[in-house]
């Protein structure tokens, strides 16, 4: 298949205008020894053949639709209202570039402005950027922002072991040459936020926690925020947006930065991406925040209009003086989140959050009843909980899969002391029968 429209006559006319005989003549600057290498690729497919091949690859997977899933650990299987993809499928949105020309990009710009507004409201903060790649990179950018806020003078980052292991790993990758100290991850995962307080000192740039934490637990971080602020440090929370439909927003707990994975807001699982890293903060930090930002203004005709603003913070102007190299946002994913929040509104998001909460608590109750299984923690939780199992999680999950169930996340992968600990996620997509089936199969595993 080709998408090149030229007829041979047109090609020849163009070559004549250029003043060369054949297309190959345009490549004389390329070293002759390396020019026109053979590429060993499979023969080109027609659209019909490609569609069939892709369908075959897709069917080779067993999805959360074919199976019953209790897997979360950062991304969640939620219902996506049909209207969202109809908006995302409009070429006017998905085939546009970054809105550098505001006169012909008001659709994208106003949509981002509305995204910023809703994200600020949801997290209880004052400003939001136009998004990062995902929750993990948003947290890494929060760390960089905090370090820049103190002009590199504070070198310590305190994070809880309850922050997603992949977020901590990503942050570590980002800052590995920054002479910074990442502390806190070595704490006992069963400890609460108060265990972080002794680690905070005058050298601390940022204290970062997750809400609900990676193990599903809900804590009020107000005291921890106060402790961070007392030492002059900033306080960041990586939050789950669905939970914020029900729970007190981090802004009310004193957070300076709220980041998180926006995937639960109407974005498909899609085997890991593309997702949406949201990032909100206080207005006083807006110039230190990385990423695109849309502001309200007016045009030359006296119409309200929107435009990318505070661009001098960014790499294309500041170059090596910029604190972040980011030059895109997850525009289309932010649009998905906007449409999702617009459709659900105040009541819908609360409803989804409550469904998750009730179903997760029902599941926890059923699982805890099974001999050999228990809930590892007593703290309140949202839609995910940690189960202490009688056998290795891998073994249990294998058995569950034979019954068409994708089990929970094996925490032993990231926390060596947490062998036999399973993290189970339950959303509005899990029917009571599915939860009962999970409990029944788990019971089988405990007996043999």
């Amino acid at each position: 298949m080709t998408y090149i429209p030229h007829s041979l006559q047109e090609r020849d006319a163009m070559l004549a205008t250029i003043g060369v005989k054949k297309i190959e003549d345009l490549f004389e600057a390329v070293p002759a020894a390396h020019r026109f290498p053979a590429l060993n690729l499979p023969p080109a497919l027609s659209e019909m053949e490609a569609a069939a091949e892709l369908q075959e690859l897709a069917l080779a997977n067993e999805t959360t639709q074919d199976l019953v899933s209790f897997l979360g650990a950062g991304v969640y299987n939620h219902y996506i209202p049909a209207a969202i993809d109809h908006i995302l499928s409009r070429g006017e949105f998905y085939t546009a570039y970054t809105p550098y020309q505001p006169e012909i990009s008001q659709g994208t710009l106003q949509a981002i402005f509305e995204y910023q507004s809703m994200m600020s409201e949801l997290t209880g903060m004052e400003v939001s950027n136009a998004s990062h790649y995902d929750g993990a990179t948003a947290l890494a950018e929060a760390v960089i922002m905090a370090v820049a806020q103190f002009r590199g003078k504070r070198k310590k980052i305190v994070t809880s072991p309850g922050v997603h292991p992949q977020y901590r790993a990503t942050t570590h990758t980002y800052i590995q040459h920054g002479e910074l100290q990442l502390v806190g991850a070595e704490l006992d995962p069963s400890s609460g936020p108060e265990a972080l307080i002794p680690l905070i000192d005058e050298n601390t740039a940022l204290v970062a926690v997750q809400y609900p934490d990676f193990f599903g637990r809900i804590y009020d971080y107000t005291q921890l925020a106060e402790a961070a602020h007392a030492a002059g440090a900033l306080f960041a929370v990586a939050a789950n947006p669905t939970a914020l439909g029900l729970l007190k927003p981090p802004g009310e707990m004193g957070a300076d930065i709220v980041v998180g994975e926006g995937q639960p807001l109407g974005i498909p699982l899609s085997y890991g991406g593309p997702y949406l890293g949201f990032f909100t903060t206080r207005k006083k930090f807006v110039r230190k925040m990385a990423g695109r930002l849309v502001g309200e203004s007016t045009d030359s005709r006296g119409q309200r209009a929107f435009v990318l603003t505070l661009t001098p913070r960014e790499q294309h102007i500041k170059r090596e003086r910029a604190t972040s190299n980011i030059c895109s946002n997850q525009g289309l994913m932010a649009l998905a989140a906007s449409v999702y929040m617009s459709l659900l509104g105040q009541t819908g998001l609360r409803q989804v959050a409550e469904l998750c909460y009730h179903k997760a608590h029902y599941a926890a109750e059923q699982v805890a009843k099974i001999p050999g299984y228990s809930l590892c923690y007593d703290e309140p939780f949202f839609h995910e909980f940690t189960v202490c199992c009688p056998k290795p999680v891998a073994e249990i999950n294998e058995h569950l899969l034979e019954h068409g169930i994708i089990g929970g996340y094996d925490l032993g992968q990231d926390y060596p002391d947490m062998q036999n600990h399973m993290l189970i996620a339950v959303t509005e997509m899990n029917a009571k029968e599915e939860i009962d089936a999970l409990a029944a199969v788990l019971a089988e595993v405990s007996h043999d």
Binding site: R151, R287, L310, T311, P312, R313, I317, K318, R321
Partner: protein, 124 residues
């Protein structure tokens, strides 16, 4: 373009008043930046700074620039008004748009007004 004769200038377009130690950004530089929308002074009263230290960063709609101290010394005043009215640096760069005042204890590599004027013309 305004280049007061009683001030001294740097190649990075700052001015300093040798008689009172006030410093700021030149008329030429504010014109290049165009509308200044944000100023952040990076030093505080009682800090001791050296010539060439960054004392402020400014942003216009299209550009961002660091401002460096033309001379060294102890900071005795910082222009707090700029935070709310950064455009003063455009409208009155040598007057109300001053940034920082120091007790001069170290001379920098400075030009007089005539040399600076020539330097600006060369860059046009």
């Amino acid at each position: 373009m305004n280049i007061p004769s009683d001030l001294k200038y740097t190649k990075s377009d700052e001015w300093v008043n040798p008689s009172d130690g006030k410093m700021g950004l030149t008329d030429y530089a504010q014109g290049q930046l165009s509308d200044i929308v944000f100023v952040e002074v990076l030093v505080s009263v009682d800090d001791t700074i050296s010539a060439g230290d960054a004392i402020a960063s400014v942003e216009s709609v299209k550009a961002a620039a660091e401002i460096y101290a033309p001379v060294g010394g102890k900071v005795i005043a910082v222009n707090e008004d700029l935070a709310d009215a950064p455009e003063t640096m455009n409208s009155d760069p040598f007057g109300a748009g001053w940034l920082v005042q120091v007790e001069i204890s170290e001379e920098g590599d400075l030009m007089d007004a005539a040399a600076y004027e020539k330097y600006c013309e060369e860059r046009e």
